[in-house]
Symmetry: C2
Subunit: 306 residues, 2 copies
């Protein structure tokens, strides 16, 4: 199980004077000289993170980079440079590599991200690709998963669910949004929603040593969650998709109450911000019922099984 | 072909003010504030870079990191921090991940390298793993592939050939050796031998806009090159293996004549340094015959076919 591996890492990987924050957040935080940098890697593969046979490879290339930019956004850091490693199927590998780059280069340019280097290999297996991004924190420091406190409000950007219908490829990483909010408001903690709203929120709460109570009626459910529930016709509801689907790559933030009110009133981003609940003392993930009662809520989402 | 992809990258990937040296060297050189950093990634996979069924996975884990450290060595930089992404086969993935880490952690500690983070996934394919290392150049700047000049001597550490018999897994990346030489002597250019002595030397010469002439009798042939030639009994000679096998992960250096003489007299490293020829004006790779004549030499080695 993934959790066992994380426990192993935490026990076995030694602390290091350069590492201010290591395994367990969206990116590592390194202190180099006077500055603090973030470093994050993602390794995506065909049939797991996309179906190359079914989509334009340029969209896949874009996703390779966007997923990583979303980790940088979760730390409210500025992206600086990326290195990209491709493991290409032998048949058509050269054209595939070019198409992936055609998809990711415009996104790199949009975020002023340097594509600094890479490694390209071919093999008999399907496409796998890793992107590593080096970023720099702002003068306000990194936004981590561990700063939420009971009473903080849970704010989210955008809407959730049904990303498999397209958003998982074409989403906009919330880099500028996170930087703006981090600069203009006091944020306590943040994470990007990659594996599912419920699961990623539970992770943020756990890292912060508290719990989270969601007002389910307040969860912004994406239109694609409705479409998907209808298409599947398997009894799943749009709300369940919003809680569990993942790959929305929206921000989940812990914000002190007064700041949360300001943000909600200001709505300073090109994407809506919603309040979906609050952090509480009691560990775990909960549904906040209208009468104030709490009911346990499953941290549904995409769990990597090992 | 790999060369076509490199041409594509050079045409298509835009320059960036942070990137002093991009695609085409062993690592990218980034200028961040007052300091210069190097960033490099390698993506290794089962059946291409190792045979997981035939070796202790700890040796594979060690190799994942060592290959990358060798790129840092080629730049004569100091390794700082690494992030590691694993794509694990589903069956036994958890135990495999732990074994890989058991193999790489001692090497990280030996080089004071922080393991700062990672990404772990599983899939139905074989093991693939990417390691990214961030390093820092010394006050003497990075050692690049492009500084060799006609008249420079070709110096190499260690010996070459037959690495498939074991050295390709258990080699010592020449990080300390490169730092020492770069600090105490004037070096013009360097590369690590990953794909083959002849091929990597030809690459260095090409990046420097000159040629290289090898005195074949002076090439230090590893004992394993003799063993391998004997085992294969296919007519290949130990010298051919030394020129073409690759994965020796030794340093190939361009050094001005007087400095080269000093290094050869001093022999300041725990590994022998040999002179195997010199850089010349005429582009290409050449065999320097005893009478002074030049004969074309094939840049043999491991070419990634795309």
């Amino acid at each position: 199980m993934e959790n066992e591996l994380i426990r192993y890492f935490r026990q076995r990987v030694p602390a290091h004077r350069l590492v201010e924050l290591g395994l367990g957040d969206d990116a590592a935080v390194l202190r180099l000289g006077e500055a603090r940098y973030v470093l994050t890697v993602d390794l995506l593969s065909d049939h797991v993170d996309f179906e190359l046979a079914e989509v334009d490879p340029r969209r896949v290339g874009r996703k390779l980079l966007a997923v990583n930019l979303s980790d940088i956004a979760a730390m409210a850091a500025r992206p600086l440079a990326a290195v990209i490693a491709l493991l290409l199927p032998r048949a058509g590998g050269l054209q595939l590599a070019k198409s992936l780059y055609e998809g990711l280069l415009p996104l790199a340019e949009e975020y002023d991200l340097a594509i600094a280097g890479g490694d390209t290999n071919s093999w008999d297996g399907p496409l796998a690709a890793s992107v590593t991004i080096l970023g720099q924190t702002t003068e306000r420091g990194p936004l981590t998963r561990s700063g939420a406190r009971p009473g903080d409000q849970i704010l989210v950007t955008g809407s959730f669910g049904g990303s498999i219908l397209g958003k998982h490829l074409d989403f906009q990483p919330r880099v500028r949004e996170a930087l703006w909010l981090h600069q203009h408001y006091q944020l306590h903690a943040g994470i990007d929603c990659s594996d599912g709203l419920a699961l990623d929120l539970a992770r943020l709460a756990e890292e912060s040593g508290c719990g989270a109570a969601i007002d389910l009626a307040a969860v912004p459910v994406a239109e694609d969650a409705y479409r998907l529930a209808k298409q599947l016709a398997d009894g799943s509801t749009p709300l369940q998709h919003a809680l569990a689907d993942g790959e929305d790559f929206e921000l989940i933030l812990a914000v002190p109450p007064q700041e949360a009110s300001r943000i909600l009133a200001d709505q300073p981003l090109p994407v809506p911000i919603h309040r979906i609940g609050q952090f509480i003392e009691m560990p775990g993930l909960w549904e906040q019922e209208p009468q104030g009662k709490l009911r346990p809520l499953a941290p549904t989402g995409w769990v990597h099984r090992l």
